[in-house]
């Protein structure tokens, strides 16, 4: 029956109802319900609904301008003028205790372009930790975070060197370590390997898979092969809407919607 769905049917049916929820989906780290966003009168996101399991990687794919990055920024609270409901660990993100700043510590975000602060590698890792005393005593946390980001071996002998001296790939992993150091419950990544060489890309993916054992990762990517490599789940977005979501293996091998099939085949999406 699903295979017979037309393009219009695919868009009418809420993405979540396209498949039976699996058992590990019952407990969710993040639940998004009918999320909508307009910026300067332009609709960026509409009726976006999905949920994140308590661990594992969920990739978000889709053409440029689909609203993927805006989605992450809404979830992290960098954009706040959205409508709908975002439940983080069952609590409404708008009512989060401590406000948006506290929510951002709970839902970490790593941007596409690595941004390191004008400080040492060590200071960068500790940057998000509250209190200068805690930052000074964070040696163990620095090592753990850098190991999680697959960067420890490369920088352990020069932790006091300026972070700007690292390569772009290393800087991206440093950003991951910095985000991990504040122990977020959910980590959002916006095309984290977009500007990296193959070796750095591989290391970042390893780091992501290591992190995904403990916390849920929501990763926006243009790289369809990467989404398949990361396995887990995949959400396909187009024109501000979730078109289809499911287990990555299934979505890539047997996409249910015609838009998904077109996108996977020709990297284009015409969902209007």
């Amino acid at each position: 029956m699903v295979a017979d769905l037309t393009q219009a049917d695919c868009l009418r049916v809420p993405a979540q109802s396209l498949e039976k929820p699996s058992s590990n989906m019952e407990v969710t780290a993040l639940q998004v319900e009918q999320l909508g966003l307009q910026l300067d009168g332009k609709v960026i996101l509409q009726d976006v609904s999905f949920s994140l399991p308590t661990s594992g990687v969920t990739s978000v794919i889709g053409p440029s301008g689909a609203g993927k990055s805006s989605l992450l920024r809404c979830l992290n609270g960098l954009l706040t003028q959205w409508s709908g409901t975002v439940l983080v660990d069952g609590a409404d993100s708008r009512q989060w205790r401590g406000g948006w700043d506290r929510l951002r510590r709970h839902v970490g975000l790593i941007a596409q372009k690595p941004v390191v602060f004008d400080a040492s590698i060590r200071a960068n890792v500790c940057f998000g930790i509250h209190g200068w005393r805690q930052r000074r005593r964070a040696d163990e946390l620095v090592e753990i975070s850098l190991r999680q980001a697959a960067l420890w071996d490369e920088v352990k002998d020069r932790l006091d060197a300026p972070a700007a001296t690292l390569s772009v790939g290393q800087q991206q992993r440093l950003c991951i370590a910095r985000a991990v150091a504040i122990k977020p419950a959910i980590l959002l990544l916006d095309e984290p390997t977009a500007s990296l060489d193959p070796r750095s890309k591989q290391l970042v993916e390893q780091s992501m898979q290591r992190l995904a054992r403990d916390i849920p990762l929501l990763c926006v990517t243009h790289d369809l092969e990467q989404a398949q490599r990361l396995a887990g789940r995949t959400i396909f977005m187009c024109d501000g809407r979730v078109i289809e979501e499911g287990e990555s293996n299934q979505l890539f091998s047997q996409p249910e919607c015609i838009e998904t099939r077109e996108f996977l085949r020709w990297s284009v999406c015409d969902c209007n």
Partner: protein, 282 residues
């Protein structure tokens, strides 16, 4: 159109640009050369570090007291204005609505266009007379602070706007509040450029004569202010007095010497500001 025509047109346009640009470069150069040529007879180390006993309007002694008076007024004006400028710029960047931002920008652009003598008049009425601070160092410093405030605010805003948005966003993504963003990201990154703005504001304060003429300075009887509420003597008003009141060529030479020192002081601040700016950009 053949290549000869194109070449001729290019030459003509080059010529027009040169004709327009040369006076703008030549006139200030001639003026500077003339100032230093006139100042040459009196310009020596003794002239700069020599002090007067306070009497005789300083027509025969050095200008050290005037030089320090000018610097003191400029430093105090910037010390008063800089925190307010920083606060205003930070409010603009963090809390102000777009409407408030438009209003603030328009207001400071307008304030920058107000003739400094108007600030001087306000200072005379409010500070000197109403508050009974008298003609004093503090009255002059506050008036000069008002004069340089718009420049400092606009410069601070420009400095903060040069911080990449991604830099701020990376801090916000770590859950840093506005205080931490300002204190741990913005200020450490932009303090050199902020200092550049303060130096430029000092240069501007050193260039102002009108607002301090009837709020801070006297022409004679003062070497060094005893307190914040004492009058001060400055290079600007010293030049004004000597040039206006005397026909003695020696005295006029002292006026030229004072002008040359003032020009050097302002130029040094400009060069230092430029160096700091370049350092900040690197």
């Amino acid at each position: 159109m053949n290549s000869q025509h194109l070449l001729a047109r290019d030459t003509i346009s080059k010529g027009i640009v040169w004709l327009l640009a040369v006076p703008a470069l030549l006139i200030p150069t001639i003026v500077l050369c003339y100032i230093f040529w006139q100042a040459a007879p009196v310009l020596d180390w003794g002239f700069i570090v020599g002090t007067t006993d306070g009497a005789g309007f300083g027509v025969s002694d050095g200008i050290f007291a005037q030089l320090l008076g000018s610097l003191l007024l400029a430093v105090m004006a910037c010390a008063i204005a800089a925190p307010f400028a920083l606060g205003t710029a930070l409010y603009y960047r963090t809390y102000a609505s777009p409407r408030q931002q438009r209003l603030l920008t328009a207001m400071f652009n307008m304030l920058q266009g107000i003739p400094p003598i108007v600030f001087g008049l306000c200072g005379l009425v409010v500070l000197v007379n109403l508050f009974a601070w008298g003609v004093s160092l503090i009255s002059g410093a506050v008036v000069l602070a008002m004069v340089v405030l718009p420049l400092l605010v606009l410069n601070t805003l420009a400095t903060l706007e040069r911080i990449p948005h991604g830099y701020t966003e990376a801090g916000m993504a770590l859950g840093l509040g506005n205080g931490a963003i300002i204190g741990r990201l913005w200020l450490p990154r932009s303090w050199l450029n902020l200092l550049t703005g303060v130096l430029l504001a000092m240069a501007r304060a050193l260039s102002e004569t009108a607002p301090i003429m009837f709020t801070a300075t006297v022409f004679s009887g003062v070497v060094w202010p005893d307190s914040l509420f004492s009058p001060v003597t400055t290079l600007q008003t010293h030049i004004f007095y000597l040039a206006q009141e005397s026909n003695d060529p020696q005295v006029i030479s002292i006026a030229w010497g004072s002008a040359a020192v003032l020009v050097l002081l302002v130029a040094s601040l400009g060069v230092l500001a430029r160096l700091l700016y370049k350092l900040g950009e690197d």
